[in-house]
């Protein structure tokens, strides 16, 4: 008898727990079902022989290879930029401003305004319509600075034995730059969040013990941010793979030249080859899934490695 209320509570608890988890995962489940359905109907639309035929097509092979290469390059560039930028933004945040300039209201307000401005500017590529990024890049490379960079790039490629790459615009470097412009913004945001969540006291302690800033960053902050860096890399990579608008405008859609998987989908669709477009989409999805899983396994050492 004495146990009855406990059992009742336990039974009610189990029921409400079941209800809780079902209702909470219901909406997510719907979204999951939508994604699975999208992939399933794509597979239904295209037969295996279609996929085999596509994979034997040198143009598809070219676009797969170029996609993998440019996405990886864009992701590496993004990480190189995102890690220091994210660290600076995290460590020079509101707390740091309060700590250092708390007694000087004018400077405090100015520093906070500057911090907000930098944050907003770095988020621009995320909120801009992709086509605008493409047009802006195109216009940028028509300025004297842009033309000089174009010229320098052409000279560099010519010097290393590839004179056919005539600068940046409408060439492979344009793809990487278009992907990097957007992907880096996502990577920076991820790295900023990562560093913000890492307690800075160990770094301060290391500083008080006489360690230099670079050493503290390298030996204390960076090891703790490793899973975040992997997340930022995969996010940048995935974002680059799906990039289309800026590539369309800034790099063009020349077959076997600046053709990545997203442009293969577009070109097939535009040429009335819906089946080809669906097959290219499936290849895109498959490549993305394989690479994302492989990245997580390799860099984090196992399926749970990324959990923090």
């Amino acid at each position: 008898m004495a146990n009855e209320p406990v059992e009742l509570r336990s039974s009610i608890g189990r029921r409400t727990s079941w209800l809780f988890w079902t209702s909470m995962s219901g909406l997510g489940g719907l979204y999951l079902a939508l994604i699975v359905l999208l992939v399933v109907v794509d597979f239904q639309y295209a037969s295996l022989s279609d996929i085999r035929t596509s994979l034997a097509d040198e143009r598809v092979i070219f676009s797969i290879c170029l996609s993998l290469i440019t996405c990886t390059l864009a992701a590496i560039f993004s990480i190189w930029v995102a890690v220091p930028t994210g660290y600076v933004l995290a460590r020079l945040g509101r707390d740091a401003i309060e700590r250092h300039l708390g007694q000087k209201p004018g400077l405090n307000r100015l520093a906070r305004f500057l911090r907000q401005s930098v944050d907003t500017i770095l988020d621009i590529p995320i909120v801009l319509p992709p086509l605008v990024v493409g047009i802006s890049l195109l216009v940028l490379f028509q300025t004297s600075v842009g033309r000089s960079m174009d010229q320098a790039t052409q000279s560099f490629f010519s010097w290393i034995g590839f004179p056919g790459i005539r600068g940046i615009t409408y060439e492979i470097p344009a793809i990487v730059l278009a992907q990097f412009t957007v992907a880096a913004a996502f990577a920076i945001r991820t790295m900023r969040n990562t560093f913000e969540q890492i307690d800075d006291r160990p770094e301060l302690v290391a500083l008080t013990l006489g360690a230099r800033r670079f050493r503290v960053f390298h030996r204390v902050a960076l090891p703790q941010a490793w899973p975040g860096a992997v997340a930022a890399f995969t996010l940048a990579w995935a974002r680059s793979l799906g990039e289309f608008g800026p590539i369309l405008i800034f790099a063009g859609t020349a077959r076997m030249k600046t053709e990545v998987l997203s442009t293969t989908v577009y070109l097939n669709f535009q040429f009335g080859n819906l089946r080809g477009a669906v097959v290219a989409s499936l290849i895109l999805i498959s490549v993305a899934v394989i690479v994302l899983i492989a990245t997580r396994l390799l860099l984090l050492g196992g399926p749970t490695g990324g959990r923090r």
Partner: protein
Amino acid sequence: MTLRRSPSAARTGQVPFALVGMLSIIVMILLILMALRLRPDAQRASADDTNLRVYCASGIAKPVQELIDDFNERMGARVEIVRTGGSGELAGQVATEFESGVERGADLVVLADDLLLEKGRDGESIAEIFPAAIQRPVIAVAADSQLEIDSLADLVNRPGLNYGLTSNRAAIGKLAREVAGRDGLLEPLEANRKTDAENVMTLAQALVTGNLDAAILWDTTVNQLNQANQQPVLKIAALVDPQDEFSGEVGLGVVSTTRHPTLAIQFARYATAPETGNPTFRQFGFTAQPGDQWEEVPEIHLYLGSMFTPVLEQQVREFARRQGINVYPRWEGCGKLVASINSITDPDLFPDAFLACDFRFLEQVQDRFESPVTISSNEIVMAVQRSQAEGIESPQDLLASDLRIGICEPEQSALGWLTRQLLSSPPYAGLYEQLEARSAVTVDVGPTLVSQLLAGGLDAALVYRSNVMADPQSMQQIEIISLAPSTHSRAVQPWAISKGTKNRQLMQRLLEMIVRSDTINRFEQAGFQVETPEKD
């Protein structure tokens, strides 16, 4: 004191980050080399020097791609489609590239809307236009559909019908709305449509996948999709405009900033020639518009009155260079040119076009030329040595003094003929015989008289204003004295294309060059009055 590490730090702390950084740089270098190795053309210095970049409207991309493949194989050229999309979208990009000064943008653009090309030419982003084919708007349904739609009115007024048309930015959408506007159906067309796709191919795919019951497409899009699939996927239910008043004109536009104008024009000629381009367009269901006969390097013969030499000689040379053609111009007095036209027996030597000094000369051979276009007019003036000019106000004054006078021969030149007419009718009636009797010299063309004035051999001459103004330095020595206005005091210059020419479009482009603003400026600087070109 030792630092406490978080569990993840404990694990990852062993990662040598300097090594990771170095590795990432090595990986980047390797990836860049791999990307470059993917492109065989990257190692060739001339890869892009001869590349012609084409932007092509998606609905026309198939025949254009086939033509490009043929052309590249035949000519060893490197033409390639680098961008497809809706006509409006591509025209917009070309305009953006033109305005922002993009160096390696499009060289050639193929659009399904001739008005967009015209707009591009007005905005100076497009230099030459080549009409290629006609396509008609149709109401399309799925190949296995049981729907029977017999007209545009039926489509827009049938309740519950899922139909789509493209936005106004695509040529087909604009044209469908024009037809609907004419038939008073615009309001229901807009109100009942289910989608507003950006380009015709997107709309067609929506119909193929069953998202729509019907759609307004080009007849050629239906053909193209049926050819792209193993079995027909669409069929035409009805024509949008059975009266055939509205149709879409596919055209190629050479971008004004292209670095390869000659190659672009050569490909455009190939794509529109009856022997090469037309069959390919027909194969894809288009009604081809015949351009000029295909010749790798066309040869044209031009007859031009000598008065045009200072204005057009250089322009014609530049035109020939840009178009990649051989031009054989004859700059002579129009009497001689007419005599030559009448005596030519070899059709290959017959002039493809004639720019006459006056209508009178063209009229003598009009049966062999198409309707003329007025280009300019030129005023007859008295050109007098400045030292002798005092007191001379009219042709009578030339007789009153002891001046050495020069005139042109009336049978050999328009100037001579007009001079005779002018001085034989009021207010100068009866003066011609006296002046002819007093003239020290009678020549074929006006420039000769000006040369003699400059050399001091003549004191006065009756010439065209342009003869004197052709050389700005001659104005320092010669004074121009205007004559009283009369129907014969002005020569009007017509342009006419030969009826038998194989290069009608080429001649049309030459005319476009002649009436272009920079050439008009040259005409005006040379003393011509430029007429607004119109068919007479």
